[in-house]
């Protein structure tokens, strides 16, 4: 105990490095942009303007990719925004400042429709779908000659103007970069916020986030639509800058270029988008200068250089340039070791989870046959049985991952809600047999995922900083939960650096954040060493004693079960074989025969 507090004391001291390297880079880029915008010739200003446009697209695309989706047709949205805004202002006489938001709205709608159609597609079908509609939209830009001017292009697009004064190239570029700056701030907040955390999890742990209240398809859709809207905004701004639109700017090759920029820069944060776009442009310019003028090689070599670069980055540094810059997250201070646990949830009312005559068939196989278990409230219950007995199936039925073929599950007498989102709202939280932690996030952020269902902040609340209070409260609670499981001192460590035992405890901490009245643990002892098992057992007992939590433990490890469980159910061949107190079970002849092993 003394060691613990000393550890906490040490970690509480501010770290030696005072300046965040990422902020340094950001500052340098920002300074360069400002200098160029103020002082350089129109040539450089033009480059900076286009860089800003690209950055806006890639900020949205990067977040999309961080959430595990990929778009090979994003240039089509840029085109929709560009043509939309240009045509609204030219053909309908709408002022440009109004045409731009309308174009963004158009992109949002189109993005929504396409998302609804395609986001249900799994695996690599989604990139192919984005490729397909991206190309279809580009073809339409060319084919609708009467509206868009076709392949010859749309001339005399109106620039940004206020009260009749048209913005110069320099002014337009400045507007673009003001927007980039705002987006960087907003997205940095989004990444740190409630939806941003689970977005990273959507990539590889979508079942887990579903169990904590995330509506996966809706979240994916929102992220996609936001990226489409951003691309549309970029397109509208591009139209104002260039004052000329040609469909080739919005075809497959630019879509691929945006993808390359996102990969180059990295998707772990919005800064990656700016870095990737800048790096891409630098290479283009350098290549043109070096390859075309100095080496006098044909321009094709430049594209080949990009190809080699893309492949090398993917193979060697798949997390992009951003991964090369060490990050220093702003960390809320850890609470004192001696402070009484704030935000300690009150004792729960004992919750009764029960399965009534549950049968579950998978095709011809009957996994569960007329099983009825009533899990006592406020106690630790064990569910044991040989492999194939149906433990996992029963577990999944109790958490509504599967629907029972017949029979029902009730929570406190009421039927269990239909969706996992509602289940967690009713106070049922779980851990997973294979640890489901998000590798990109640290321990604290992983734990915060558990509180998702209790929060309300969405993408916009996060972006505008309206979620401060909610996040702060949740953070406090998460730290308390970590203290509870004894992992407070590693709150900011990456989860991949921790041993399995600690990871399982993190899962428990995460589940605690859902303020459950029922905690379901799926083989938590698997892979743990003896001291870790003891720690887990003590934790469970303290949860039962101090918080009155109902705990169900599906386990193979007899030591853990017999030591902490108050009541045990034994399954065999899909049927309930026995139930009772641990000492009863240990003496039960049927159980001994089937499972524990008789002494001969």
């Amino acid at each position: 105990m003394v060691m613990n507090s000393m550890n906490t004391e040490r970690v509480k001291a501010p770290s030696a490095r005072r300046v965040d390297p990422q902020r340094l880079v950001l500052g340098a880029v920002g300074a360069l942009v400002v200098v160029l915008l103020l002082a350089a010739s129109t040539y450089y200003v033009g480059l900076v303007a286009v860089l800003g446009v690209h950055a806006i697209v890639v900020i949205g695309l990067g977040f999309l990719m961080a959430s595990g989706q990929i778009s090979l047709g994003h240039a089509a949205f840029v085109g929709l925004g560009a043509y939309g805004s240009a045509l609204l202002s030219m053909r309908l006489g709408m002022p440009v400042l109004l045409a731009i938001p309308c174009a963004v709205l158009l992109c949002t709608l189109v993005g929504y429709v396409l998302a609804k159609l395609t986001l249900q597609l799994k695996g690599h079908y989604l990139p192919l779908a984005t490729l397909a509609y991206g190309m279809a939209i580009t073809v339409c830009f060319v084919a609708a000659v009467d509206i868009t001017g076709g392949a010859s292009g749309l001339t005399d697009v109106r620039p940004l103007s206020v009260f009749g004064h048209a913005f110069s190239t320099r002014a337009t570029a400045t507007v673009i970069w003001v927007i980039v700056a705002l987006l960087l701030i907003g997205y940095a907040r989004i990444y740190r916020g409630r939806v941003g955390r689970v977005a990273r999890a959507l990539r590889s742990n979508s079942v887990m986030v579903g169990a904590f209240g995330v509506h996966v398809p809706a979240t994916r859709t929102r992220i996609f639509v936001l990226s489409a809207a951003l691309a549309g905004l970029a397109g509208a701004l591009y139209a104002c800058y260039m004052q000329f639109l040609s469909p080739s700017t919005f075809s497959l090759i630019p879509s691929v270029s945006f993808l390359i920029m996102a990969v180059l820069g990295g998707v772990a944060g919005p800064l990656g988008a700016v870095l990737g776009a800048a790096f891409f442009m630098l290479i283009e310019l350098a290549a043109q200068h070096v390859i075309a003028r100095v080496l006098e090689l044909p321009g094709q070599v430049e594209t080949m250089v990009f190809g080699v670069l893309l492949i090398t980055m993917l193979l060697k540094w798949p997390d992009g340039l951003l991964s090369l810059i060490p990050t220093q997250e702003r960390k809320p201070p850890l609470p004192d070791a001696g402070t009484p646990a704030q935000a300690e949830p009150s004792r729960r009312a004992p919750a009764a989870l029960a399965a009534h005559n549950v049968t579950k068939k998978f095709g011809g196989l009957t996994a569960l046959s007329d099983v009825s278990v009533a899990i006592p409230g406020g106690a630790i219950t064990g569910l044991i049985g040989p492999n194939g007995a149906g433990k996992s199936t029963l577990f999944n039925v109790l958490t509504h991952v599967f629907e029972a073929t017949s029979g029902s599950v009730t929570l406190n007498g009421q039927p269990l809600p239909k969706t996992s989102q509602d289940v967690v709202k009713q106070g049922v939280a779980r851990t997973f047999q294979h640890v489901q932690l998000v590798q990109e996030l640290n321990v604290l952020q992983n734990v915060l995922i558990g509180g998702y269902s209790r929060g309300r902040a969405g993408l916009f609340s996060a972006a505008f900083g309206l979620d401060r209070a909610e996040e702060a409260a949740l953070s406090d609670e998460a730290l308390v939960a970590l203290k509870r499981v004894g992992l407070l001192d590693v709150a900011y460590t990456r989860v991949s650096d921790l041993p399995l035992g600690s990871q399982r405890l993190i899962e428990v901490a995460r589940a605690l954040l859902a303020r459950p009245s029922v905690l379901l643990l799926d083989e938590p002892a698997a892979g743990l060493r003896a001291p870790e098992k003891e720690r887990l057992g003590r934790l469970l007992q303290s949860l039962r004693d101090e918080s009155g939590m109902t705990i169900l433990l599906v386990e193979h490890d007899m030591e853990l079960v017999m030591n902490c469980a108050d009541y045990i159910f034994v399954l065999n061949f899909g049927m309930l074989l026995a139930q009772g107190r641990p000492d009863e079970i240990q003496r039960h002849p049927g159980v001994i025969n089937a499972y524990l092993g008789a002494e001969t």
Binding site: T118, T303, L314
Partner: protein, 342 residues
């Protein structure tokens, strides 16, 4: 529209769909054995056509030097790996040298002879040889990467290969003699025998691949290698060789497609792109995993393309690409579970 027009368009659609077939089959082959969605497949078609055209014109195609050069790089990589694993250095050396000698001899002979089969064979082997080289340099370093990463890698490959084609052969269209000049009338439709040859090649390759993968042990081993790489390794399936072999065959098939197509539309540096994309659409109908459905898919694309070009030529490509989405949705609904990442 009267019935004879409809029949014409239908038959025309099928023969044109067949053009995309060999690329579609190559895509499926590569995907089922390596999990790579190879967007660069169309480039092999281009190279096959152009290499064939060069040889037919009597010139020693510069592609030979490129292949030899990259082959040398790959040889070095293989030698270093052999040294790291303390295996014989002689084996890879002999393999590469033998391949280089055969290629040089064939290409040399083909450029100096007038025999079309020889020229086709030389061009086919030359382009097919590019397959394993590409695999070794872009997939082998990280074969377990996610599908999305592998797809993006193949985008990088096409960024290299397309301009390379432009560099090697320039922008001119090269004419190539067809295997047969004859034309045949099927009802109201007038079809080139060359088109029918393409159609037959497509059908034959589909059957061959289908039978091989479904019913032979080797085929199953190849599929196993992509589904669970480590498991296949432990079963003794030479997973690395599998990848290289698949790419070899796939590049060869696409090259063949290019060589058969070139007489109809001339060989030029852009031909592979659009054929590749439409082959994609066809292959997607089979979910990128089955051969017969891919063949059906390309026919569907061809027919759809014919009819939409007839009714609204400006928007025909938009219709064809838009077709992909319902196909994907249908496949996802009925076969979606095969997509879960392992």
């Amino acid at each position: 529209m009267d019935s004879s027009t409809a029949i014409f368009l239908g038959l025309d659609g099928i023969t044109n769909g067949a053009v995309y077939a060999l690329v579609a089959l190559s895509l499926v082959l590569v995907y089922t054995t390596t999990r790579v969605v190879n967007v660069a497949q169309g480039d092999f078609l281009t190279f096959g056509a152009l290499a064939f055209a060069s040889l037919a014109a009597g010139t020693l195609t510069p592609l030979l030097y490129v292949v030899l050069g990259i082959g040398a790089v790959c040889l070095v990589i293989d030698l270093r790996r052999a040294r790291a694993y303390k295996r014989s250095l002689l084996a890879p050396l002999v393999r590469y040298l033998a391949a280089a000698i055969i290629l040089c001899a064939l290409v040399f002979a083909a450029s100096h002879s007038h025999s079309m089969p020889l020229q086709m064979l030389a061009a086919l082997l030359l382009v097919a040889a590019m397959g394993p080289l590409v695999y070794q340099l872009t997939v082998e370093p990280n074969p377990g990467a996610s599908i999305v990463v592998l797809l993006t890698c193949s985008v990088g490959v096409t960024l290299i290969l397309q301009p390379l084609g432009l560099l090697l052969w320039g922008t001119e269209s090269l004419t190539v003699n067809p295997i047969s000049d004859a034309r045949v009338s099927l009802g109201p439709a007038d079809l080139a025998v060359q088109s029918l040859l393409i159609l037959s090649a497509a059908v034959v390759m589909t059957l061959a691949l289908f039978v091989f993968f479904r019913h032979s042990l080797y085929g199953k081993a190849l599929r196993a290698a992509s589904i669970n790489r480590e498991g296949a390794l432990y079963c003794g399936v030479p997973v690395g060789t599998v990848g290289r072999l698949s790419y070899f065959i796939a590049a060869g098939m696409s090259a063949l497609g290019g060589m058969l197509l070139a007489p109809l539309v001339t060989a030029h540096y852009e031909m592979g792109f659009i054929v590749g994309i439409k082959g994609f659409v066809g292959a997607v109908t089979g979910g990128l995993v089955t051969y017969p459905l891919s063949l059906v898919g390309v026919f569907l694309v061809g027919i759809f393309e014919s009819f939409s070009a007839f009714f609204s030529s400006a928007f025909r490509d938009a219709w064809v690409f838009a077709l992909v989405i319902p196909i994907l949705l249908w496949r996802n609904a009925y076969h979606g579970d095969e997509l879960d990442e392992h």
